[in-house]
């Protein structure tokens, strides 16, 4: 999966304007010819090791495990990567590809700012011009990351259209790409967009699951019983899940943002409460109204505040291979504080959603079983948001 045209069953595909079709085919060709090229893989692996700091540890959270009283909890520490999240894995892969294709300018969309920072970082290192589109709402709530991007030399363009969040940033990045397609490479930050992006980003992020699989076998002597990851577009989740898909004994849980609660309608959980539709170049589960208009999402976490989801997740949901659940803003805050206080690890608000579900799941599992949770990023970027929510002035 996917098939040659990028379909994961009924999902995925290439639903884009004609101007982008040929550039997308060129990208696909370039990626196909590079992905099996040992030189490209060696360059990618070298950067992951020496620049990102991989492999990231698989950390046994002993105290948390004891407190919850159930399955052993292992954290895949993507928060320890350079720039503080899993996003950099994908960014490096795509930037090497951009360089091979002779592109001199990269653009990116960002929600939480982690993908924007990762893109700005790699652009600084490779000497590429970098423009990052970010919803005006997110520019406000992720101010530290906006400043980091600017320090790195990127231009941050606030997007004022629509809901002023991630989906609108993606629309605007697409418009830039259509206009500047000759010299510009669009680094999409998650497993969304037209084929080959969902498959390509998955391939770059699968290093998470490949490492985790080997690490748990070394540390625990057996495969995990469950995997848990938060799902915005779904890149950290698919990165962890993909290398375990054939291991049928491993239960897979993707955690969406339930915002104020699914029943309130104010959430960002298309797999839990959405319908199939077409947005941003692929067919997938979406949050949409009866007229097929995309509806505004709500989440405390900018990185999960997206009305769609990578098409492979839609396919895994329909197959029943993965289960998708949702946790509220309030639960995520509890997850945030729990991990911070019990393990001395300040998680990103996105990853705090995964944590909240682990807190629900672990106590129901026997002590000899294990869970791997993807700790997709660190929480430094979120401290302003947390302080504001708790009425604290910094």
């Amino acid at each position: 999966m996917p098939d040659a045209a990028g379909h994961f069953g009924a999902y995925g595909g290439r639903f884009i304007a004609e101007t982008l079709m040929e550039p997308i085919y060129q990208l696909e060709q370039a990626y196909n010819s590079l992905k099996n090229d040992p030189k490209f893989q060696a360059e990618f692996d070298y950067d992951l090791k020496h620049y990102v700091g991989r492999p990231s540890p698989l950390y046994f959270a002993e105290r948390l495990t004891r407190e919850l009283g159930g399955a052993k909890i292992f954290l895949k520490r993507e928060d320890l990567n350079h720039t503080g999240a899993h996003k950099i894995n994908n960014t490096i892969g795509q930037a090497i590809l951009a360089k091979h294709m002779g592109k001199t300018r990269i653009i990116a969309e960002t929600g939480a700012g982690q993908h924007g920072v990762a893109s700005a970082t790699i652009a600084a290192r490779l000497g590429l011009e970098c423009v990052v589109y970010m919803g005006a709402e997110d520019v406000k709530r992720q101010a530290p990351n906006v400043f980091r991007m600017k320090l790195l030399g990127a231009t941050v363009v606030p997007v004022h259209s629509g809901s002023k969040t991630l989906k609108d940033a993606l629309n605007e990045a697409m418009r830039d790409w259509v206009t500047n397609v000759d010299n510009t490479f669009y680094i999409i930050g998650t497993v969304a967009g037209p084929h080959p992006y969902p498959a390509m980003v998955r391939d770059f992020q699968s290093v998470i699951g490949r490492e985790a699989r080997q690490q748990i076998l070394e540390q625990d002597g057996r495969l995990p019983d469950a995997l848990v990851a938060c799902v915005g577009g779904g890149s950290n989740a698919i990165g962890l899940f993909h290398p375990f898909l054939a291991d049928e004994s491993v239960a897979i849980y993707g955690v969406e943002a339930a915002g104020s609660g699914i029943s309130t309608g104010k959430h960002a959980a298309p797999l839990t409460a959405g319908k199939s539709g077409v947005l941003h170049g692929n067919r997938t589960y979406l949050m949409e109204d009866d007229n097929g208009q995309i509806i505004e999402t709500h989440s405390i976490s900018a990185g999960l505040d997206y009305p769609g989801v990578g098409p492979e997740h839609s396919w895994l949901k329909d197959l029943g291979r993965a289960q998708y659940v949702a946790v509220t803003d309030a639960q995520a805050m509890e997850g945030f504080h729990t991990l911070t206080r019990k393990e001395g690890i300040i998680p990103a608000l996105e990853s705090s959603h995964a944590m909240a579900y682990v807190m629900e799941l672990a106590p129901k599992m026997p002590k000899d079983q294990s869970i791997i949770m993807c700790l997709s990023g660190r929480g430094d970027k979120d401290i302003n948001t947390i302080a504001r929510l708790e009425g604290i002035t910094l």
Binding site: F15, A17, E18, N171, V178, T179, V181, N291
Partner: protein
């Protein structure tokens, strides 16, 4: 013969170029759309392209994006728009109407339900910006069996082999996007457009329209010399932007601009 084919045949007999205005249905208010359509016909429109607003118009520039937003304030739906076309058809059975929009509202209605309803309302063609022929295996045959011409865009980035595939999937006319970029972008190179149209001629007998970047009588005339049809959108919508609360002025200004293009094309 389809209304679109008949329209081009009649124009050709008179040695005329088709003038195709694009407006977003329901912008700035649903009540303006049907009267505006009639007035555009009066002013010389040959075919009307009616935009179906979408919350995420990725291929459109700021002008048309805002038009979609103004329309969606009133929750203008695909069903509402089909009702507008039906109303228009009560007094106009000749001017072809093409719906232009994104796939998701059509998916939501259901391909077959949409095709039937569009045919019943008197729609002639459907241009789905984010539906390349590759993804149309299910919906395009339904369009055809319901008498709807699938209209496709050809872009400056489209290579010859794709032109051929598009020509095979298309009917009615083919729409050449004269610029890279989104709708409403600037500058237009007519020599380049002419060269591309010539290349497209190798693959199709269908009329060739040109759009993106046509803003006044002069640009319309220049493009009209090489194309079978001239499509104008953002320039008209700017007239809505200018006086969003004054429907009379909107209709007058859009018709005025179209009339000036019509006379430049006919001169």
């Amino acid at each position: 013969m389809s209304r679109i084919a008949a329209c081009f045949q009649a124009l050709q007999a008179q040695g005329k170029t088709a003038l195709i205005p694009y407006v977003t249905a329901g912008d700035p208010h649903p009540s303006i759309t049907v009267p505006l359509m009639h007035q555009m016909v009066e002013a010389g429109a040959s075919i009307i392209e009616l935009g179906v607003p979408f919350s995420d118009p990725m291929a459109d520039g700021p002008t048309i994006q805002l038009a979609h937003e103004r329309s969606l304030v009133h929750n203008t739906s695909l069903t509402d728009i089909l009702a507008m076309v039906k109303e228009f058809r009560q007094t106009n059975q000749t001017t072809p109407v093409v719906l232009m929009g994104y796939l998701n509202p059509i998916e939501m209605m259901g391909y077959e339900a949409f095709a039937k309803a569009a045919q019943a309302a008197g729609v002639d063609g459907v241009l789905t910006v984010d539906l390349p022929p590759e993804e149309g295996k299910e919906v395009l045959p339904l369009f055809k069996t319901h008498g709807l011409d699938p209209i496709f865009l050809v872009a400056p980035t489209t290579p010859a082999h794709r032109m051929q595939a598009i020509a095979e999937a298309a009917s009615g006319f083919i729409y050449y996007v004269s610029l890279k970029g989104v709708t409403g972008a600037n500058t237009l190179d007519t020599a380049e457009v002419a060269a591309r149209l010539k290349q497209m001629r190798e693959y199709t007998q269908l009329p060739l329209g040109v759009g993106f970047g046509i803003k006044d009588a002069a640009t319309a005339k220049a493009v009209g010399q090489v194309a079978d049809a001239v499509v104008v959108g953002s320039a008209l919508i700017k007239q809505v932007e200018a006086t969003p609360d004054d429907h009379t002025a909107i209709i007058k200004n859009i018709s005025g601009l179209l009339a000036s293009m019509r006379s430049a094309l006919d001169a």
